[in-house]
């Protein structure tokens, strides 16, 4: 159903084991007026270990629902969502989820926020303190460890949330438009930081965005979803070496290509709705 376009002539890397898999997943919600709305329909895709996958699609196409299913916050109505071949039944510290809202706990200091996740894992107090400190150093917030979240700037809050999510060493990092509410400059800085962290840790990464440039800048693979009910319609494998630049011809081309594809999809959906 989906086609994969190699964008440069680089030999395909040895395929790594499948980490996350969606098999014929369907999900619908009941609206306030009682009508059933299908959000996902027969969605099938795999994410391999250590892969950075971006999901992109028109708004309302069920991108966030895919993440919630992977996080275990919701259950599919049909099909199966699996981690390492085992169905995902509930949330767990092996999968971290970043939201558009950093969702830091306002009653805890920045340090305590990072320590919170570690404490849940049942680590010893020395280890908790050391791990939290090292993560705060990694996101350059050591000087703000004892400050309350509301005293941080927007970008700093996102970095704190990143430290909190990664401190537990999750195998999978899920992100739901984490920089959606930030200005373009801050967004770019955080993207670079995220990429750095990802290269260092080698986590499997599923990133939802509606920003095409962001997706192409970060991902190994971009999956384009159709309008509601969402399902993958196109897939781009981006093997350009990192760090990427938007001046790179291949990167620029694929950005244009995805934009065109999305525009076509949005127009198609609008026609179907009779707009």
């Amino acid at each position: 159903m989906t086609t994969s376009r190699a964008l440069s002539i680089v030999p395909e890397p040895e395929p790594r084991p499948v980490k996350l898999s969606f098999r014929g997943v369907g999900k619908s919600f009941t609206t306030g007026t009682g009508t059933e709305v299908a959000v996902l329909d027969d969605v099938t895709f795999d994410v391999r270990t250590g892969e950075f996958v971006c999901l992109i699609g028109p708004s309302g196409c069920g991108k966030s629902t895919i993440l919630n299913l992977l996080a275990g916050l919701e259950r599919p109505d049909a099909g199966e969502v699996a981690l390492d071949g085992r169905p995902i039944l509930e949330p767990g510290p092996d999968r971290a989820l970043l939201f558009q809202d950093p969702a830091l706990f306002p009653w805890l200091s920045v340090r305590e926020n990072v320590e919170y996740a570690l404490r849940l894992k049942g680590l010893g107090s020395d280890e908790i303190r050391e791990t939290a400190a090292s993560w705060l150093a990694k996101v350059r917030l050591s000087a703000f460890a004892d400050v309350q979240p509301h005293e941080l700037s927007g970008g700093m809050r996102h970095r704190a949330a990143l430290a909190r999510a990664l401190a537990c060493r999750p195998e999978v990092l899920l992100a739901d438009e984490p920089f959606g509410a930030l200005d373009a400059q801050m967004r770019e800085i955080l993207q670079k930081e995220l990429e750095l962290v990802w290269t260092e840790l080698g986590n499997t990464f599923v990133f939802v965005t509606h920003n095409v440039r962001e997706a192409v800048f970060l991902a190994d693979r971009v999956i384009v979803l159709s309008a509601r009910p969402g399902s993958p319609i196109e897939e781009y494998r981006i093997s350009t070496s990192r760090p990427r630049s938007f001046e790179d011809v291949l990167v620029a081309k694929v950005v244009l290509d995805i934009h065109e594809h999305l525009a076509k999809e949005v127009r198609r959906a609008a026609r179907e709705e009779g707009l």
Binding site: L73, F99, F105, Y116
Partner: protein
Amino acid sequence: MSTSRRRCGALHAKRVFDRIWPRVALLATILLVWWAVYETGWIDPSKLPSPADVWNAFTSNITGSDGLLPAARGSIIRLAFGLSVAVVVGTLIGFAMVASVVVQRSVGTLMTALQALPSIAWLPLAIVWFGFTERAVMFVVFIGGVPAVAIATAISIRQVPPTLIRAARTMGAKGWTLQRTVVLQACVPGYWTGLQQAWAVAWRALLAAEIIRVGAARGLGHLLEASLLQASAEDTAMLIAVMGVIVVIGLAIDSFFSVMDRRIRSKRGLLVPA
């Protein structure tokens, strides 16, 4: 550095002054008008004694068996006891309202209904049940405080931002750990507002009960009622003095709640800087 510290001190002094002068000014104005009215002699001194008479009534009635101090102590102990029980029971009811839709629809509606009923309206029934006893006073304080606490508990828990709960769940928090570390922390500001309302309701219910001579030990309400008997100038002065004491105690308790409230909110960034 010493200059900056001195400037800091001066700034602090100015801030304290800014906070205090409107209150002092209002109090002075009230006293001045009161005194002026008294001096004109239009009003019978047995109806409106001078501020000095009230001050005398206050200073000469502080101690002694019918004094203000034992009465204030009696009222405060009653309030503390009745309110404590109301807070414990109200909080538990609030939790149950959140946990179960059936409880919300039944007991939750009852709580709203109780809030519509002034707690003083319970007094006759409380006297029928318990007589003019301490238990009747406690009951009225209790029944006044419970709905406020229960409703505030339920609302504050329902208003915990879902994103915080989702964040905690993705980090592996669930069950009691999730409740304790997130829900019970996030609901504190709203809960505290509920306590602030509850104490005021309970305090008014308590004084009302005392005024109609319910309860064995002396309270401020009893003193109000006792001062009503002869309606002499001295008694009226005492009446106003007791009212003043009630107001001052109320302000003191309220400022405790307000200071704590400000602390809770400023830590969470919920305080809009003035």
